[in-house]
Each structure stands twice: as C-alpha cells, then as structure tokens.
C-alpha cells in the first residue's frame, strides 16, 4: 500500500472530476467517522495492487502492519490501473459518485434491466435528465426510486437528447451494479 504519486493522483482526480465537478472537494474533504478515534479524520487515496482505495486515515494507519502480500482491500475501491497505465473507475465507487454527482439521469422501470445487463441508455428509456449536460460528461444513472444503478458517459447534451429518436443512445454505459453478479471475479 502506498500513497498515489503525482501523475496517478492527477489521473484519478480527472476522472472523478468528470462526474462530480465542483463537488470533488466534498469527496476529498469530508470528515471520516471510521476508526476508533473519537475525532473524525480525513480521507485519502491509497494504491494497493493496482487498485485505488478511498480510505480514512485512521484505517490507513492501522493497516500498515499488514504486510503487502496479505492486504487485500481497505475502505472503498475507487478504480484500478490497467496494465497499460490507464485508470478506470469501477462500480464500487458508485456510492461515492452518486452522493456527489453533478449530472444525473433517471431510467424508466422498463429499461432498468437492460442497463443492468450492460447496454447503453437509449432515449426511450429515459425518465428524467438533469440540465446542462455536455457530451463527454460523466453521468450517474439512477432508477426512478433514486437507487443508483451505474454510471457512464453522456453521448449528447441535454438539448440534443430532446430531439433524438427513441433508439438513440443517450448515455454510454461504463459500469453498473449488475457487474456484482456478472463479473464478480473481475472486480
């Protein structure tokens, strides 16, 4: 386990920025209630086996005496670095993103399952959409009952979505909670 170096930190924060925008400071600076200390600490990012974890400092302190070979996970996993050095966000950070998301999309009940199987969001399945989405923005996908389902990239801006035909792609799928069942081994 080691802290992220400069390059890695920028990459990670860039990705997160796409989803959260200004709320990024919420993520970095929120008080951390984990740990047995009575005072809340802060959160930090750590790298372990090519995976980036978002953990509170109290946990990090206490995880230092676990050897590198045997430490498996801490706190919440945010994403992983691929062999080629690229960083991908994984579904486990959904809770974090959903709480701080700037752009949201709500799906109709009929198209929930389709998204959970890994398909893109089509115009016909769109229930609600927040304003001000630009193409390429990170979008968090919710169900109509405000349950976060996953996240993806916006394909069109909000205005363009209105003009789309029902089979047009609105959000490119990146990750969804169905992966807990489909790809448990790869997470």
């Amino acid at each position: 386990m080691r802290p992220l170096d400069e390059a890695e930190t920028t990459v990670v924060f860039e990705k997160l920025l796409k989803f959260t925008g200004n709320n990024l400071k919420n993520i970095v600076e929120s008080p951390a209630h984990e740990g047995p200390d009575p005072n809340p600490g802060r959160y930090c990012f750590r790298l372990q086996k090519n995976r980036v974890y978002y953990v509170s400092e109290a946990l990090v302190k206490r995880a230092t005496n676990i050897s590198r070979k045997n430490l498996v996970a801490m706190g919440t996993c945010v994403g992983r670095f691929t062999h080629g050095g690229k960083f991908h966000l994984t579904v486990q950070c959904l809770g974090l993103l959903a709480a701080n998301a700037k752009h949201k999309v709500w799906l109709k009940p009929t198209s929930e399952m389709s998204f959970l199987y890994g398909n893109h969001v089509l115009k016909g399945g769109l229930g609600r959409i927040t304003d001000g989405i630009q193409p390429g923005d990170g979008v968090v996908v919710f169900s109509m009952s405000d349950v976060p389902l996953g996240f993806g990239n916006a394909a069109k801006s909000t205005q363009d979505c209105r003009k789309l035909d029902p089979n047009g792609i609105v959000v490119h799928h990146q990750s969804d909670i169905g992966e807990y069942l489909r790809m448990e081994d790869d997470l």
Binding site: E34, S56, A58, A63, V72, Q92, D185
Partner: protein, 625 residues
Amino acid sequence: MALGSLSKKKGSKSSKGPPKKKQKGDLFTEKRPEKADLSDDSDVSNEEVEELENFDEDSGSELLSGDVDPLADDFLQGSDDEGTNFAESVSLLPSLLFENSGSDSAAGSDGSDSDSEVSDIERKSRALDERRAREEKDAEDELQTNIAEESDEFWLPTEEELEAEANRPPDLQNLQRRIQEIVRVLSNFKDLRQEGAKRKDYIEQLKMDLSSYYGYNDFLIGVLIEMFPVNELLELINAFEKPRPICLRTNTLKARRRDLAEVLLKRGVNLDPLSKWSKVGLVVYDSQVPIGATPEYMAGLYMLQSANSFLPVMALAPQEKERIVDMAAAPGGKTTYVAALMKNTGIIYANEMKEPRLKSLTANLNRMGVTNTIVCNYDGRELPKVLGLNSVDRVLLDAPCSGTGVISKDESVKTSKSLEDIEKSAQLQKQLILNAIDMVDANSKSGGYIVYSTCSMMIAENEAVVDYALKKRNVKVVPCGLDFGRPGYTRFREYRFHPSLDKTRRFYPHVHNMDGFFVAKLKKVSNSLPTAAAAEKDVESVEEAPLSSVEDAVEGSVRPSKEDSNKKNNPGRIKREHQNGNGAPKPAADKRRERKFPFRKEVPRRTEEKRQALRGTKRKGEGSK
C-alpha cells in the same frame, strides 16, 4: 366377516379358534397391506396365512419376507375348492412346510392332491391335532398379555433375514415401517420389548435402518443417536431432509426493513418479518423474480443470509467506534452486519484464509457500502502476531467446522465425515479460539468479548473447544443474549465440562427452524495467562491422545511470546482459571479424572516438570542476584 362365513360354510371344528382367529386376523389385515395386495383371493386366504405366520412367529422364523405369499395363495385356493375343514388343514400343512424354513415339521409331505389317500388322512389328522394344540397354547398366551395386541407384532429381524435383505435392493417402505416400530418399542421399552432382545439390539437395528434409509454413514448416525432421544432423533433427521427457508437481512446502512419489504413485495416476492428477535431479518417464502438478482440486491439494500448467521453477530453486539476482528469473514454476511450495527464507525479487520473466497468478501463489502473494513488474507493463527496482542475490543470467530448442522444444505456431509475429520476440525478450532482470545484487550472500555460459533452439532467441536479455552486462558462464559436457543451441554456421556457452559446456546432445525448452530460468548477477564502449572494440572476432559500433543504444540507456539508475562505471573502462583470461584469442586473433579486416566497425563507432566525445573533454576539465579 369372511372367516365367519367360512365357518358357516365348512362347519367349524374348533369353537374357540375362529373367534380368536378373527380378532387377530382383523388386526393382521390392517397391518399387513402388502399381504392383502398379493392375494387376489378372498380375505379368507389372508387370514389363514396370517394365522400360520403367527405360528411361525412362535418358532421365530421370518415374518416379513415377501416370497411366502405366492406359495400360500396357491394352496389356499386349492383349499377353497375342496370345501371342508380337513381340506383347510391339508392346504395349511404344506404352507406350513414352505414358510417354516427352519423347522422340521411336515418335512415329508409335498402338498399336492395326488398322493395316496390313506397316508394323507393320517397326516391330515396329525396336522390338525398339532394345529389345535398350537391354537390353544396361543390363545392362552394371548390371554396373559395384558396390553394391546400390537405390541406382540414387532420382532427384530434375524440374521438370515438381514442377510437376505442385504442381498436384495433396499425395500424403503419396509425400512420406514421398521424404523417407526423400533422407535415405538424404544419409547416404551419395558412393555413393548421382544423377549430376549436387549435395548442395544434395537438401537443397532435402528442405526442400520436409518443409515440405509436416509443415507448417513455409521459414524454420524452413531453420534446423533447418542445425542438425542429417539423421537427427537427422527424429527431431527426429517428436518435435515428439507431445506430451511431463505432469509435476507436488510442493510441498515442503506434502507429500512419496512421500505425494503414494500419494494420487494411490489416486485412479487412473498415475504414476512423473520421473527421477533430480529429487527432486520425477512424470510422469503417464494418469489417471482430471482431473489439474488433484483436491482435492490445489486444496490446493496439487503443480503441473502441464513437465519442462524444473524445469531453470532447479535451475540457480539458491536458498539460504535470499536475495533473488531472477524477471523473467518468470507463471504461477508456477518462482517457486513457488524459494520451496519456499527454504522460504519470504528474499524473492522476482516480476515479470510482462502484466497478464492476473498473476491466475494470484497465484493459484498463494497456492494453493501461498508467503508470501515480492512480485508486481509492471513491464516487465523497468525493474526495476533500481525495485529498485536491485546489490541482489539471484540472478536468474532465463526470457525471452520465439519458442517454437521447444515446437512439440509449439503447432503454430502452425511457420508463424508468421520471421527478424524471431527478431531482435525476440533484441533484447528482450539488453536483459533486461543488466538482470538489473545487478540482481545481485556481492559478495553466497552469490549473484551469473543464470540465463538460453529454450524456444527458435534460436542467435540463446540462445548469441548470452549471448555478448552476456559482452561487455557483467563476468560469466562457470559450469556449471549439469545434466549430462545437450547443451553449447551455441561456434561455428556463421559465428558464433564465447566458448569458455565450452560450459557452457550445450541440451535436445531427441528426446534428453531434454522440450521444446526452453536454460539458461545466469552469475556476476557485479564490479559495475563494463567500459569502453566495450573493449566497442566487441570486435566482436560476425556479426549483422544493426540489432543495432548496438540496442546503442547499450541502452548509451544504461544509460549515464546508469553515468556515475559509468565515470569511476572510466577510470584502470584496459584491463579485460578475459573474465576467463578469453583476452586473447591475442582480438585475433586481432578481426582476423579486422575483416577480414570493416570497414564494419559504422564507425557505432559514430564515435560511440565522439566519446564518447572528450568524455571526454578532461572528464578534461583535471579533470586541470588
């Protein structure tokens, strides 16, 4: 009835016989449907066959074999045609011959109608006389028995019968009936037993029948028979055949039970709150959608978990901001429950030894939104070295076990477990529980508890392990807060455990409708170890010899790190382990055990003496300084 008509038809010879026969006959027809099926003739033939079989019972030959009837039928059909009582007896005589495989009576005749008349008539009259004599004797016997006639019916099968059965494919109906009969006999053994049969014979036969009917191996059935009275045993075994209901636990970090229930009901799941002892459990009766694949499941609103897995966490009762260790955490149901109870404060170390199971553990933790957990991959026995001694507030040890309580989930346990498996598990569990105790800080403000649980029903894996821990460390058993279970055993056959073990709890499928489970909650009283001398002197409950070597091994591994604390302890030598003040009965118990097994202690005593001598010289050396 038919017999009455027969006597009218044929002019009954013996007045006493038919009424008595009729009673018996009725009973027999009720209880022997198979014989009724086989004979397509009238009930007459049935009753006559059964009378004969009654005679045969007297001589102790087989009762239940099926190949008697076809032969008997032929002859009795012949008898009907002839229409006289004599004819009756003639036909009965050859039937006697064929049924009574062991007896020598009527050896010569062959029963067809074509033999010479004179010898036939002689034989007929002899047979008739014999028969009448037997009937009279039988009637007298019957008069003497004062209980329902059903009691005479069940006889243990003989050797030949058993061999014959072993050669044929198992007759399930037969087995089932025999099992029921033996249970009935054993429940009122004094009155219903067969003469000359000991209780042990009945139990042996029951064991064999149960293992072939339900598919258990001998070891497991033997253990179960020892633990439960026979009626309960049947209930237990039947309960093992059926699966327990699926339960789920609401994730209180993300949802409330009421809301979740509403959402699931809308999806078409038929569910109910689990019981009054749980505020987060729901039991699923049936469901139109796969319950493990709903969007709510994937969002982490609930966890599929069997009801018995709630219990150790409820017993542990973790508080906020505590440090908790879960020594065998995968797949993470209990760990996530602990985190939910702690509201994501404090810190949980979730340890899992087997690598393939780590993925599901991390996935579940992330799915349920748990943020206060560190997952590590150690052997549970190494954890104290990594995390430090006396460093955490509570430990949950859901030990790997033989799994004899979850037979309804995994049928292979019925046949695959043997005494060695149980012993190996017990050995591992003993080491793990000692390590668990070592990690806990006795002086922690809010904690100091260890919860030990298994999904097994074996005494060797449950009470014996807790008893071992009581001897080796300064801990005591405290009530776990689960009052609806059955108290654990404090004594069982030749084992004697510490009396506080009745605060542990056992759960059974046929009583509580959850898988077999055992929970014990221990409180660590002090961080120091009890002195070695006291530990060795307290004889362990009767266990096989390998165990003493295990304890030496455990002592050896733990001892090097404990040398300091031991040296401090030596001045305060007499340290009673059982803090409940059971000093007085203990020496007596020791003496009792010592008398039984003096040689068993030789090896540990010798090593202990050596150690004492070594320590003595050390101390002397220090003293002289």
